[in-house]
């Protein structure tokens, strides 16, 4: 049994312009202790997927179908039609959040409360989820600060966020996420707001921590370089769907989907001949308000066929871990349901 199983999750937002389908029929699993990278452009549904998982959708967001199973417990946010069900779900999620499941945020500058001491913010989760005294929580926080490599943690405990550098704040956020020994950490672009040199340190730290504690990590990013160094498996998202999924090697060396191909072509590779120009993917991501009937990538794909416009592609499996949704690899008329 996997640590996290997500099946056919669909999330929609009601807006003034109409219904936005941010997640469409997304399914994936995360095993205990593994690092899954979720890669995609802005607006591809990466972050909404994680917010759905944590139960933190904005009030106009609704999960219309799908199930989520975490650590043997059903935490599906769909069918919350009665008030009692919603309250039960909210209570269940509050017990999980920060405890078994925690989050590392994108921007360490804004995710720490500027007027509370670091120590108070670090012990927050510990005090909320475990029955321990303030002194014990403090001891744990100091331990955590040591673990993420913050010097003189005892003095740092009494300081405010503005007295920390960006990299140190991100390390504090990682420490806060680790506080209750979670089984799953969701890292939402943890390095985008940092300098390149600090980025490498933070990635090293996340790598070390997953190794030491056996925590599973879902790494959300648009940086393929980050996932290459860190992840065991990668899922590529586009237009609210997972278009390709596989181990890191499978994605980097045996990629199937034209979108993945495009992503790989557009990253800078220092080993390659530098005179070779980068090839960007032309066009812009689809408007989630009115998605095409067929494949969402259709408009930007170099291989678009007639069927791509008419019907959603079928998922093809290549190995136990590798799968891809594209008509290119299943040109079989028996799949076609439209006329």
């Amino acid at each position: 049994m996997s640590l996290l199983e997500i099946n056919n999750l669909t999330t929609q937002f009601k807006t003034n312009q109409g219904t936005v389908s941010a997640l469409r029929d997304v399914s994936y699993q995360v095993e205990a202790g593994e690092v899954l990278g979720i890669v995609g452009e802005s607006g591809s549904g990466k972050s909404v997927g994680m917010l759905t998982l944590m139960g933190l959708l904005a009030s106009n967001g609704r999960v219309t179908s799908g199930t989520i199973k975490f650590d043997g417990e059903d935490i599906s946010p769909s069918n919350l039609d009665s008030k009692k069900k919603r309250n039960d779900y909210e209570n269940k999620m509050r017990a999980l959040r920060g405890n078994k499941m925690s989050m590392i945020f994108q921007d360490p500058m804004t995710f720490l409360n500027p007027v509370l001491k670091i120590g108070i913010q670090m012990t927050e989760g510990i005090l909320a989820h475990t029955k321990c005294t303030k002194a014990e929580a403090r001891k744990r926080a100091v331990e955590l600060m040591k673990q993420v490599g913050i010097p003189s943690p005892k003095n740092r405990f009494e300081q405010y966020p503005f007295e920390f550098s960006g990299g140190m704040r991100q390390r504090i956020i990682i420490a806060i996420a680790l506080a209750c020994n979670p089984k799953l950490i969701i890292a939402d672009e943890p390095t985008t707001a940092l300098d390149v040199t600090v980025q490498a340190q933070i990635l090293e730290l996340i790598k070390k921590i997953t190794k030491d504690t056996g925590t599973a990590v879902i790494m959300i990013t648009h940086d393929l370089g980050v996932v290459a160094t860190l992840c065991d498996r990668i899922a590529i998202m586009y237009g609210g769907k997972i278009v390709e999924e596989g181990t890191t090697d499978e994605i980097f060396y045996k990629s199937k989907h034209p979108y993945t191909e495009g992503l790989l072509k557009s990253i800078n590779n220092s080993e390659k001949d530098t005179s070779e120009p980068l090839i960007p993917i032309p066009g812009t991501p689809p408007d989630l308000l009115n998605l095409p009937k067929g494949c969402a990538f259709m408009a930007r794909c170099p291989y678009t066929m007639k069927i791509c416009k008419a019907q959603q592609p079928v998922t093809t499996k290549y190995s136990k871990t590798h799968s891809c949704s594209c008509w290119l690899y299943c040109m079989d008329e028996s799949y076609i349901t439209v006329s």
Binding site: L56, R94, T110, N113, P114, L116, N155, Q159, E163
Partner: protein
């Protein structure tokens, strides 16, 4: 050649042990927010003056009646309307009562009304405004319209009506001031909370599993502490002035209890003959209100982190 080799052997050019590099040490000893704020406050001369005067009146209210030889209602027909002298420091009024003693009792009432009503308004305003802003939606709508209704009735009307029902005493003045008094605070806090709850650290606290109550009162309210304190420091003089006004027009503290307002009213009749009797209570009211305003302004400036 030999020389360079010799030079390299000098231990200044040996590689350093990594443990001695000691980066990321705490370079500047951190000062707490309050000690920094106090440093800024001290530089503001008007604010310090205000603080000293307020402390003087507080001491007067607490210890004044103890050091005086008279009581506030002790009448002495032999010494009507005397001018200040060594026995009667500020003179006596038309009933021969010692003005200094009465002034001290007046300070008790004024400061008590000022600070207690501010405290009550603070608690009600922060809780009400906080809940309204944090919950939002229909709850916010209903709560704020209720506030509008309370605000629509002139506040003096509340005071006078409550005086009629509960009688003229400090308690009814307090209630009368507090019923409409918390509204400004509630509105201010609501506005602050609405903008603060969208901040990302609020989401971060939610992700940590903190309860709504904890997020509201621990994470968000403390971020709004600057505006709250400033609002608070202006509530105090406002309440003191209201009390003085009520006593002056005769619906406040009833005789023989002394209040600055009622003392001013008593001496008003003798203004042509003994203007000095009117001077003392007016001076006390003016000084207190001015000082509290200076103090509030000073605290507001000191707590504003942009003035660093």
């Amino acid at each position: 050649m030999d020389d360079t080799a010799e030079k390299l052997k000098s231990d200044w050019f040996l590689p350093i042990d990594p443990s001695e590099k000691n980066d990321e040490f705490i370079a500047v000893e951190s000062k707490s927010f309050l000690s920094e704020a106090w440093g800024r406050f001290k530089k503001n001369k008007r604010a310090v003056f205000g603080l000293i005067v307020v402390i003087f009146f507080i001491l007067l209210a607490v210890f004044g009646p103890l050091i005086s030889k008279f009581t506030y209602d002790e009448q002495n027909a032999d010494v009507l309307n005397v001018l200040p002298n060594p026995t009667y420091w500020l003179g006596t009024d038309k009933f021969g009562r010692d003005i200094f003693t009465r002034l001290c009792y007046g300070a008790r009432i004024s400061l008590f009304v000022g600070f207690v009503s501010a405290l009550i308004n603070l608690i009600i305003g922060v809780v009400y405004g906080g809940i309204s802003g944090y919950v939002g939606g229909k709850t916010d709508m209903i709560m704020m319209r209720t506030v509008d209704i309370i605000y629509a009735v002139p506040s003096m009307l509340y005071v006078i009506l409550i005086m009629l029902v509960l009688g003229a005493n400090v308690k009814s003045i307090l209630i009368g001031i507090c019923i409409p008094g918390w509204i400004g605070m509630a509105r201010q806090v609501r506005g602050q909370i609405i903008s603060l709850k969208e901040q990302e650290f609020a989401l971060a606290a939610l992700v940590l599993g903190a309860s709504s109550r904890r997020i509201l009162f621990k994470h968000l309210t403390i971020n709004a502490i600057g505006p709250i304190i400033v609002q608070l420091t202006f509530l105090v003089p406002q309440a003191i002035f209201t009390e003085a006004f009520l006593s002056f027009v005769g619906v406040g503290i009833s005789a023989p209890m002394a209040s600055w307002g009622s003392m001013a009213q008593d001496s008003r009749q003798l203004i042509t003959m003994y203007p000095i009797q009117l001077l003392w209570p007016t001076l006390a009211i003016c000084l207190t209100i001015f000082s509290l305003n200076f103090l509030g302004e000073g605290i507001g400036d000191a707590l504003n982190p942009k003035n660093r």
